[in-house]
């Protein structure tokens, strides 16, 4: 009996030993274990980075939902003790929220549309309608990409003042529509690379069927360029939304036409004054607004309010955006 068991164990050991001794299985196991390692490391790393990215936003949301009296309640770190929308209410008063939101949305949307049109046309011309000298013109695009707006802002300001467009939103539209908006150079570059990547046969067969150049562009190239359109549109919208530079130079944000970014910057630089003038102080007691932490809290919540519409919109376009990278390859 005993010898039987010993024999069995021995043969089992021999089998396993043989199995692992084979060069083929050795390789398979090596690969499998390295695969598992890779998976573990990847998961930890990506999860950690996602956490780092989401952390500030989650913190802001948690801040927004707690009662103003709880600012320095040490017991409250994540989940508010008393739920309240008071912080949001105060921030909305400070930012003049609904009007500013509407204006910002209008400005970003119109400027985005104009930018898409002007840069898509230019990008198409640079990639598919090449002529003598178009390379030299493209060098101009590269220069606009690397020149910082600061180098031009004074001259631009004086120029726009001479035409009498300072303080009007049209100045932003004019810049976007003529391909000189925020980072338009990069958009032209993206469109050029993208149109270049589309197969030449598309254009040739359209040409053989007698389509004009414009029709080829409009009916054949553009529908195929959805990926680039989504990418550029998203960036154009977001950068215009977040822009505080051109808006400040052209003095677009006024009493009559408040914009979120400028309202936020003005408020953050003098939170107490902002609360005082907009009547936000009347909503809470003195012991709360004398607390510097509370002022920081309102700045945070205001920043969240500015970002929130963007995040919500991103949730809707996100799928198309990610897919557009997948399908197209903007970089050609």
């Amino acid at each position: 009996m005993k010898t039987k068991i010993v024999k069995f164990v021995k043969s089992l050991y021999q089998n396993i030993h043989d199995y692992f001794k084979q060069p083929k299985t050795k390789l398979v196991w090596k690969r499998k274990s390295s695969d598992i390692m890779l998976k573990i490391i990847r998961t930890i790393l990506l999860f950690g980075l996602c956490f780092v990215i989401l952390f500030p936003t989650i913190q802001q949301i948690s801040m927004a939902l707690r009662a103003p009296e709880d600012v320095n309640n040490p017991a409250v770190i994540w989940i508010p003790e008393t739920w309240s929308l008071m912080n949001i209410k105060i921030s909305m008063v400070v930012l003049d929220y609904w009007r500013a939101l509407l204006n910002t949305f209008k400005l970003s949307f119109i400027s985005m549309s104009l930018q898409i049109i002007s840069t898509a046309l230019a990008g198409y011309a640079f990639s598919r309608l090449r002529f003598k000298g178009s390379n030299i013109l493209f060098l101009g695009v590269m220069i606009t990409i690397i020149t910082p707006p600061q180098a031009l802002s004074l001259a631009q300001y004086l120029y726009f003042r001479d035409i009498g467009l300072i303080g009007k939103e049209i100045s932003i539209y004019l810049m976007s529509g003529l391909g000189m908006g925020i980072r338009s150079g990069i958009f032209i570059y993206i469109f050029r690379q993208f149109f270049r990547g589309l197969p030449k046969e598309l254009e040739e067969s359209a040409q053989l069927d007698g389509a004009s150049v414009f029709r080829t562009f409009w009916n054949i190239m553009l529908p195929n360029a959805r990926g680039a359109l989504v990418t550029v549109g998203l960036f154009a919208f977001v950068w215009q939304w977040n822009d505080a530079y051109y808006v400040a130079i052209f003095d677009v944000s006024t009493e009559m036409f408040p914009l979120l970014t400028m309202q936020l910057i003005n408020a953050a630089e003098g939170m107490y004054q902002a609360l005082f003038y907009t009547g936000g102080l009347e909503l809470i007691g003195q012991n709360v607004w004398e607390n510097p932490l509370f002022l920081a809290l309102i700045s945070n919540v205001s920043a969240l309010l500015m970002m929130l519409p963007l995040l919500i919109m991103y949730l809707f376009v996100q799928k198309q955006f990610v897919e557009s990278i997948e399908r197209t390859g903007i970089v050609g």
Partner: protein
């Protein structure tokens, strides 16, 4: 080839190709017209004017701007005399340049690494990708001003010693680690968010360029039994390298745009007596970027980065 086909298909319209070419040319001009007008009006004119400003002292008066020529005075001022409350233009310029030279390779490697990972197949990939592009959306000057809460508030908080719940540095010192290691770790963690927010667009560009690598190369490699590591070095990297230049240019411009140098230039601009100096600073800034770019192009030429090895 296309020419030949054209002629054989429609022999009676021998001139149709040149006609098409002319049509193309006309449409090219129409398509480019907005951009050319914009380029001349809103770029070239301000560009030349600001170059002109940088050699003059400007004085705004009710009748207009009085400008007096002063040679390279503004440039000398920007380099030698300019000071802010705790720094100077020269110091910040040098710091930013060094920072850029150190940060950009890190940024490139990091974003390429992340792009390769986001390109792998795993569960929840779409969600992770969506999250990784959030910093691109949230990256805004207005928000960072607000989160700084204004300097006054930050100072108050510091005086009272509140606002920091978990002090990593203090904790690490207690574990008895070497000081340089601690400062490295703390600096790295402080920077993760900054790096992530700068890396958004580079990741996107890299991801897009990886997508364009022909799939059959990977299939062949797999059949031949290449490991993921080998595939990366021998297939992904050589194919992505033409786009490294694009990403570098973007990252370089982006780093300078968000740096303290550009803040100083804007601040000077706010002070109307210093317009000339501000223009000079802007030009120093532009030439620094161009110099770095030239340097990079030379390096790329020497090490043969950037040329696609399929083209020739």
């Amino acid at each position: 080839m296309a020419e030949l086909e054209q002629k054989t298909i429609r022999p009676h319209k021998g001139k149709s190709l040149t006609g098409y070419k002319r049509q193309k040319m006309i449409w090219a001009i129409i398509f480019l017209a907005p951009w050319i007008i914009g380029f001349l009006m809103f770029f070239m004119i301000p560009f030349i004017r600001s170059l002109y400003f940088s050699f003059y002292t400007l004085e705004p008066t009710p009748d207009g701007i009085i400008s007096t020529y002063n040679g390279f005075q503004n440039y000398v001022y920007a380099f030698n005399q300019h000071v802010t409350s705790n720094s100077s233009f020269r110091v910040e310029l040098i710091n930013t340049t060094l920072d850029a030279l150190i940060n950009i390779p890190v940024l490139l490697i990091f974003s390429l690494f992340i792009a390769v990972m986001l390109n792998m197949k795993f569960k929840g990939r779409a969600l992770v990708r969506a999250i990784f592009f959030i910093p691109v959306i949230l990256n805004s000057a207005a928000v960072s001003t607000a989160l700084g809460g204004g300097d006054a508030i930050a100072q108050l908080l510091e005086e009272q010693g509140i606002g920091q719940i978990f002090n990593l540095e203090f904790y690490l010192i207690q574990t008895g680690m070497m000081p340089w290691l601690i400062s490295f770790i703390v600096g790295l963690i402080d920077r993760i968010y900054t790096i992530l927010s700068l890396a958004g667009v580079p990741i996107l560009l890299f991801l897009a360029s990886i997508q364009t690598v022909p799939k059959h190369l990977y299939e062949a490699a797999k059949i031949e039994g290449a490991t993921g590591y080998e595939t990366f070095w021998l297939i992904t990297l050589p194919n992505v390298s033409p786009h490294i230049i694009t990403v570098t240019v973007f990252a370089l411009v982006d780093t300078f745009l968000t740096s303290s140098v550009s803040r100083i230039i804007s601040d000077e601009l706010g002070n109307s007596n210093r317009w000339g100096e501000s223009a000079a600073m802007a030009w120093i800034y532009v030439s620094t970027i161009i110099l770095i770019l030239l340097l990079l192009v030379v390096i790329a030429k020497v090490f043969k980065i950037g040329g696609s090895h399929y083209e020739d």
